[in-house]
C-alpha cells in the first residue's frame, strides 16, 4: 500500500509547487470620508489571486469647499483583460456603504435616515467589470 502511495504523493507535491509558482496578485483599495452632519461614506475594492488584468480606479473627494459647494465623492473601478487577451482571471470584491443622519431646524431628533450597502463578488474569467459610485450632499436655501 505504502509503495503505491508514493507516486501519488509526488504528484501532489509537484502540483502544490506548480500552483505556488504561478504568479498571482492580491491587492486592496479602500477609502472613507465623513463630510459632516453625521455622514459616513466608504468603499473598498480587493483583488484576490488575479493572474492578468488591467485595473483602473479613480477617486475624487471634495470635503472642504466654499459655501454652497456640495460635498462630493466619485469612485470608479474597472477591471478588464490585457489588450490581446480574452479575459482577466481571478476574484474581485467591492464593498460600498454609506450612513447619513440629518435633523431639521433646531430639532435634535433625526428627520432623515439614509443608509445603504452594496457588496459584489465576481470570480472567473472577467471580460468586463465596472462599478461606479457618486455621492453629493449640500444645502439649497
Amino acid at each position: 500500500m505504502n509503495v503505491n502511495n508514493i507516486p501519488q504523493i509526488r504528484v501532489i507535491i509537484t502540483t502544490i509547487l506548480f500552483v505556488s509558482l504561478i504568479p498571482s496578485l492580491i491587492c486592496a483599495d479602500s477609502w472613507s470620508v465623513s463630510p459632516g452632519f453625521d455622514t459616513d461614506v466608504s468603499g473598498s475594492t480587493s483583488l484576490v489571486n488575479m493572474e492578468s488584468f488591467v485595473m483602473e480606479s479613480k477617486l475624487k473627494i471634495r470635503a472642504v469647499g466654499e459655501e454652497g459647494v456640495p460635498a462630493g465623492v466619485e469612485y470608479m473601478v474597472s477591471i478588464s483583460p490585457i489588450p490581446g487577451t480574452e479575459a482577466a482571471i481571478g476574484t474581485v470584491r467591492t464593498d460600498f456603504r454609506g450612513f447619513i443622519l440629518e435633523s431639521r431646524g433646531l430639532n435634535t431628533y433625526e428627520s432623515e435616515r439614509n443608509e445603504w450597502r452594496d457588496q459584489a463578488m465576481v470570480s472567473g474569467a472577467i471580460v468586463n467589470f465596472m462599478k461606479s459610485f457618486t455621492y453629493t450632499s449640500g444645502i439649497s436655501l
Binding site: F37, P70, A87, F96, G98, I100, E102, S103, R104, G105, N107, T108, Y109, E110, S111, E112, R113, N114, E115, W116, R117, D118, Q119, A120, M121, V122, S123, G124, A125, I126, V127, N128, F129, M130, K131, S132, F133, T134, Y135, T136, S137, G138, I139, S140, L141
Partner: protein, 274 residues
C-alpha cells in the same frame, strides 16, 4: 424509455393596478440636497458572481419623536430596496444602476430608481444557475391635518379648510428568479418625499423575462415569481375612527420554458387638489 417532460409556457401577463385613494401625504424634504448613486455596474464574466445590495431612506416631516407617535399634521415615510443575486458559474452580462435622491420630488420624480438587466447562460457541464431576488417596499404614515387645499371629492363638492384624516399605507413590489438561460429586466421606483401635500406617493415595479437571442435558444428557462401588495387605512377627519381600509395582493409563479413573461405594478396615492 426516455421520459421527457417538456413544459412550454407562453405567458404574457400585463397587470396594471392603479389605485388612487385620497390618502397619502408625503413628508417634505429638508433643505439639504443629497444625490447618491451607490452603484452603477457593468459586468461580463464567465464564472461566479454574488452581489448584495440594501438601501433604506426614512424621512420625518418634523423629526422623529420618542415613542414614534406623530403630532397633528406630521408625516413619515420609509422606503427599503433590496437586491441579491448569485451565480455558481456560467456566463453573465449585467448592467445595473441604482439612483437615489433624498430631496423633495415633484410628480414624475423618484427618490429611489433601480434598473437591472441581466443576461445569463448556464454552463451545461456543471448545470449552473442564476438566482436573484429583488424587492421594493414603502411605508407611509401621517396624522390628520387641517388643510387649506381644495380637494376634489365626489360626495362633497369642495373641502376647504377641513381636516384630512390620518393614514397608514404599505406598498410592495418584489420578484424572485432562478434561471439557466435567458434575460431578466427589473425596474423599481418609489417617491417617498414630496415638495408639498399635492405630490402623491408612488411605487412602480416591473419585471420582464425574455429569451437571450444571442444564445440561439428561443426561450428563457427557469422559475420566476412576483409579489405585489398594497394596504391602506384612513382615519375620518380629526378623529381616531377608521373611515376606510383597502388591501390588495397579487402573487404569481411561472416555471418552464418562458417565451415572454412581463408583469408591472403601479400604485399612486395622494390628495388631488381641484
Amino acid at each position: 424509455m426516455n421520459k421527457k417532460i417538456i413544459c412550454v409556457i407562453i405567458i404574457t401577463i400585463v397587470l396594471a393596478l392603479v389605485s388612487i385613494s385620497s390618502a397619502d401625504r408625503l413628508p417634505n424634504g429638508s433643505n439639504t440636497t443629497n444625490r447618491q448613486i451607490p452603484s452603477e455596474t457593468y459586468l461580463e464574466v464567465i464564472g461566479q458572481m454574488s452581489s448584495h445590495q440594501v438601501y433604506q431612506l426614512d424621512t420625518y416631516s418634523n423629526g422623529s419623536h420618542e415613542g414614534g407617535f406623530l403630532d397633528e399634521g406630521e408625516t413619515f415615510s420609509s422606503v427599503i430596496y433590496k437586491n441579491d443575486m448569485r451565480t455558481n458559474g456560467g456566463y453573465l452580462a449585467q448592467s445595473k444602476g441604482l439612483k437615489i435622491d433624498e430631496g423633495p420630488q415633484q410628480k414624475g420624480g423618484f427618490n429611489v430608481d433601480s434598473k437591472i438587466v441581466s443576461t445569463y447562460l448556464t454552463d451545461p457541464e456543471i448545470g449552473s444557475k442564476m438566482t436573484s431576488s429583488d424587492s421594493l417596499e414603502m411605508f407611509n404614515s401621517g396624522n390628520y391635518t387641517r388643510s387649506s387645499l381644495v380637494v376634489r371629492n365626489p360626495v362633497v363638492a369642495d373641502i376647504i379648510d377641513d381636516y384630512i384624516g390620518g393614514f397608514n399605507s404599505y406598498y410592495k413590489g418584489a420578484s424572485a428568479v432562478e434561471m439557466t438561460t435567458g434575460q431578466v429586466a427589473t425596474m423599481a421606483r418609489a417617491r417617498s418625499v414630496g415638495y408639498d401635500d399635492a405630490v402623491p406617493a408612488e411605487l412602480r415595479y416591473l419585471i420582464g423575462i425574455h429569451p437571450d437571442m444571442s444564445s440561439g435558444i428561443p426561450y428563457a428557462a427557469g422559475t420566476a415569481s412576483t409579489q405585489f401588495a398594497m394596504t391602506n387605512e384612513e382615519g375620518a377627519g380629526n378623529t381616531t375612527e377608521m373611515s376606510s381600509t383597502k388591501a390588495m395582493s397579487d402573487a404569481s409563479t411561472v416555471d418552464g420554458q418562458i417565451f415572454t413573461f412581463s408583469k408591472s405594478f403601479v400604485v399612486t396615492s395622494g390628495i388631488e387638489p381641484n
